[in-house]
């Protein structure tokens, strides 16, 4: 008997034809509940949107409220490789073809013609300050030309393989954009220097590959980021900003071996980044060039 009761209760629960109840409630009851939740959630959503709108109104369009996370700008390389590992085989075109493509894409906005069209030539070695006069915004802000040819051998114009085929690869280094950052004081421009990276091989055992890196060339000269590209005024105010680049070319790096390289920014105005952050003011990557098939 209990079993029958259970069965009918179970069926009744889903659809009780006697009371016309679905899952224990009549249609109008369900309707009221759904209506309530509909109204309730619409109200909540409206409330949320209102508060979000108010919050967004408090923000400045040209500069974020806080930038203290970005005290030390990050650095990055191109091509990025797979998890900061660039490895290819000189004899196998397919292994480095993607790097060439990445660089071509990356550098195309820097073509001299484009730069000349959009940006202007500025006075080198001094900040290109375009201050607003009080509430009147001096917008849009102009940007300085960074021509692809500045990268000389790494511009890809003469050697369209950027030296990859020859085993003398170019790596392009950039400093992360930070609004209003002035990377050097007293007219000294920051520059990039690359060396071997100390890395851990065992417990309390460190190693570095300084003897294997060989000669390195920097373009532009000394690997400097010219001061005229700073300060940056943000995506909205400075639409055509060209981020300055530094290219490094490894002339006789040891082949067929993993080589850990670290590049850092040298500046009298950029604080050393947190120990934890491996990309604040420096960038490290692994390079391996194979020659055997």
């Amino acid at each position: 008997m209990a079993k029958d009761a259970e069965k009918s209760t179970w069926k009744d629960f889903i659809w009780n034809s006697r009371t016309r109840e679905f899952c224990g409630r009549t249609g109008s009851s369900w309707g009221l509940i759904l209506l309530f939740y509909l109204v309730f959630y619409i109200f909540l959503a409206g409330m949320f949107c209102l508060t979000m709108y108010v919050m967004l109104q408090t923000l400045d369009d040209y500069k974020p409220t806080w930038q203290d996370r970005l005290g030390t700008p990050g650095m990055m390389i191109r091509p990025r490789g797979k998890a900061m590992e660039i490895s290819y085989n000189t004899t196998n075109t397919e292994t480095w073809d993607m790097y060439i493509k990445t660089l071509d894409n990356f550098l195309s906005p820097y073509n001299n013609s484009l730069q000349a069209e959009k940006n202007e030539e500025c006075t080198p070695d001094q900040y290109f300050v375009q201050a607003d006069s009080g509430d009147v915004k001096n917008n849009p802000k102009r940007s300085c030309q960074f021509n692809r040819t500045f990268l000389e051998k790494c511009s890809g114009l003469d050697d369209h393989t950027y030296g990859y085929q020859a085993g003398k690869p170019c790596i392009i280094i950039k400093l992360n954009r930070v609004i209003g950052m002035l990377p050097g004081k007293d007219g000294q421009a920051p520059f990039v220097t690359c060396g071997a990276k100390r890395y851990k091989v065992g417990k309390d055992e460190w190693k570095e590959d300084s003897d294997k890196i060989g000669e390195v060339e920097y373009y532009p000269e000394n690997g400097t980021f010219n001061l005229m590209y700073y300060p940056y005024y943000g995506k909205k105010a400075q639409v055509n900003y060209s981020q300055p680049l530094v290219a490094i070319k490894f002339l006789n790096i040891t082949l067929n071996e993993d080589i850990n390289i670290e590049c850092r920014i040298i500046s009298n105005n950029i604080p050393p980044g947190s120990v934890r952050d491996k990309f604040a003011g420096k960038v490290s990557f692994k390079l391996r060039i194979n020659t055997k098939g």
């Binding site: 509940i33 508060t51 967004l56 923000l59 990055m76 954009r177 934890r276």
Partner: protein, 1061 residues
Amino acid sequence: MAYSQCFSVSLSHTNTHTHTYALSLSLSLSLSLSLSLPSLSVSLFLLSLSLSSFSLSLPSLSLFLLSLSLSLSLSLSLSLSLSLSLSLSLSVSVSLSFPPSLSTFQTEHKMSIEECCRKFNTDIVQGLTNAKAAEFLIRDGPNCLTPPPTTPEWIKFCRQLFGGFSILLWTGAILCFLAYAIQAATEDEPAGDNLYLGIVLSVVVVVTGCFSYFQEAKSSKIMESFKNMVPQQALVIREGEKMTINAEEVVAGDLVEVKGGDRIPADLRVVSAHGCKVDNSSLTGESEPQSRSPDCTHDNPLETRNVAFFSTNCVEGTARGIVVCTGDRTVMGRIATLTSGLESGKTPIAKEIEHFIHLITGVAVFLGITFFILAVCLGYTWLEAVIFLIGIIVANVPEGLLATVTVCLTLTAKRMAKKNCLVKNLEAVETLGSTSTICSDKTGTLTQNRMTVAHMWFDNQIHEADTTEDQSGASFDKTSASWAALARVAALCNRAVFKAGQDQLPILKRDTAGDASESALLKCIELSCGSVKQIREKNKKVAEIPFNSTNKYQLSVHETEDPNDNRYLLVMKGAPERILDRCTTIIIQGKEQPMDEEMKESFQNAYMELGGLGERVLGFCHLLMPEDQYPKGFAFDCDDVNFTTESLCFVGLMSMIDPPRAAVPDAVGKCRSAGIKVIMVTGDHPITAKAIAKGVGIISEGNETVEDIASRLNIPVSQVNPRDAKACVIHGTDLKELSQDQMDDILRNHTEIVFARTSPQQKLIIVEGCQRLGAIVAVTGDGVNDSPALKKADIGVAMGISGSDVSKQAADMILLDDNFASIVTGVEEGRLIFDNLKKSIAYTLTSNIPEITPFLLFIIVNIPLPLGTITILCIDLGTDMVPAISLAYEAAESDIMKRQPRNPTRDKLVNERLISIAYGQIGMIQALGGFFSYFVILAENGFLPSILVGIRLNWDDRACNDLEDSYGQQWTYEQRKIVEFTCHTAFFVSIVVVQWADVIVCKTRRNSVFQQGMKNKILIFGLFEETALAAFLSYTPGIHLHKQIDIDIHLHKQTYIYTNR
């Protein structure tokens, strides 16, 4: 403020900005606070006045929301749990059948003594031989009850560890380990958080398991202390010699001698007796001592005079008997065995928790599967989707709830122990609260278990004596000369004496030696006329005829007080009609008058009236013997009565009753207003039972039984419509003949029921009948005969003082003061804990939504994770704990004892309504509050909401160190992770803040917060503690950030691989 707390480790130079963050956060707070106000219409306008407004809108909250709530997502889980609980009920409804042995077990009482001796190879004079006795002892085992199989400690411990709620957490932990195993098998560096979560869950279960185990161990220790450790002795005759041996060594066939005050060592067939009376109350519930004699008077061994039962007491006289049964084979042993064979059902709270688990599991699985499907559709791999599935299911487990529930129950158990209710099983705390029927024993629970003189009749008038425990009741006129005469007769014709050494005690508390009614008289006279001892000394006893059942009177002859008066005074008491027959005169106002018909009629009326009150009436008379016939020194011969026992002078009547306890009528009234039906179940006479029931309000004033109606209308009982009578008194013999349907009919249609003359089996039938009608039944009792019912009841309540060990073992709760009124306190506490648990659970469940929605949005719309696993644990096992527990201290709401007991089928601890409010409404508001602070932190750092959607793949990619924000700035992985952790902290603090409001919302069920007030100090402490803990977790360098980073690095390793595929 939330901003800087995350950074405190790595950076200290952010301080300049903190105040602005505090501003933006306070905006989010006020938003979430005002949103938590349940009344929507008000909160729109009160955004700025958030704090002051929520109290205003609270009262309307419940009404408004309750009427309209049910969340869609629940229907699935609901039906799931429903089917489960139904299948459970199947297994529970096993009907109970009694072993037929009780009625047929003995035939010895029908045998002659010689047959009996033959059967046991014993001798009526010499007893057993020592050799035989030793042989029987080996054959039958020792004469003691086998204790009920005690559960080994480790099983009890495991029960705590794996019972009920723990299962949910264990499942969660296992799922966590499973997820970790999957990750460990598929990744080089598996994410640690599933492992940590699993470990934390296991630790929580083990710790709370230990806690409740020790809690129960404590109360079982108190139980142990009840046990009487003094070994019983018995006087046996073996090989013709009397010897005292341990009662355990008594064997069948032994010849045993018992005297007044002894405990009967085994079931005895009486072979000879001298004025022997035994107190069978612990076996049959009859409060009056019964005489024993060698003659078989009844076929039923329980009724016959020639059997004395194991573990009952011999009150007076001596007897000698042959042991017919020992140990578990005795009547008492069989009842005890019957009890341990009974399965007691699950406690209501256990059922509630089971239901709750079904609900939660339903919600969790539903959410999990939905998002599993979504995740697969969104292009995650199967393995990732499975990890998400497990993550979502585990995130639904309220980690802190088990601890909260256990602590709440323990607190209440302690509070009840203070009010004299010892709770053996933690879960039983709540059972009393849901009780809808109480089957109460009469003797000792409702009454004082002490015969007391209640009324007297002299001077043709009924006088009322004071029966209260503290002598605060009415008094009567003591100046009448008739009263002096009556008191003298009552004092002299009385063999009861006070035991020595009790002079300091109040008279009513003193122990007496003697018959219960004689003791009542003794105390009554001692109270009103001073020392009985002196009266007796002044009136030396010359001769005495003790009470016997053929004469139905007792008389004694005394010298008079006046030394010059040489007459003797004959005093007599006994059954009133027999006394009256012997009287020719009556004392009225101190003067002797002839007994005329008119007087006889008024005597009859008084007798009937007192008898109708359920009182035991005794008549008293005296005679000053003429000096010429009975000169000084007359030799009174009591065996061959050589003096007159006729034409005496009637003095008066005195009637005695075991009066109700003072607090009981009030307690019964409270039960009634609380919608609890009180049923009296007693072994006593129907008239007495009815009188007491009327006295304590179990049969309330103006309610009549069928018999009452019949006598009022002067029609036969059969013509009365039983529906007209709300009350009824049912005799045990009638109960026997009732069918199940008739029984149900009686229980359903009568609100006030008294069962008289019931046997243990019938008690059990009554309990089962009530349970069949869906009631949650509490049973009180003290005797062995009650223990099956105690065990069968949803909650058995035993008496701590008068209760037998067997009954205490069978019970779930023990009243340390034997007072029925304590049960009412228990009911109140039980209801309170149910309410408060509900509040606690609502509070704890609410924060599940703001905890789980971040993960869901993380999966679905690919925003940076707003709230991390460790932060969730910080909420569930950290900040939420004290406020949740503090709700257990919440005072009762005004109507707690005025509403009906909860309906176990509808009024669930956790129902869809609660889930709907907690998850669908308050939880959603909380989640919005949290997300608001999350968006504020990100937007002010440059990531506007518009670019967040879909950013997760790059955001969590460790190789992407130039992620662009809305302003064109570029971020390294670590830089944006620190912002993300700031979001976690902000989200965490937002939840803490909205939980402030939530605890106030959950504080009341029906009252408004104004009616209830903020008097709960623990709750106020909880609010501060929660805030302080949140600040500690946020600001203390080292404890938060490091863990977060390590874990999140692992967590996102997986997505990092995914992105770079």
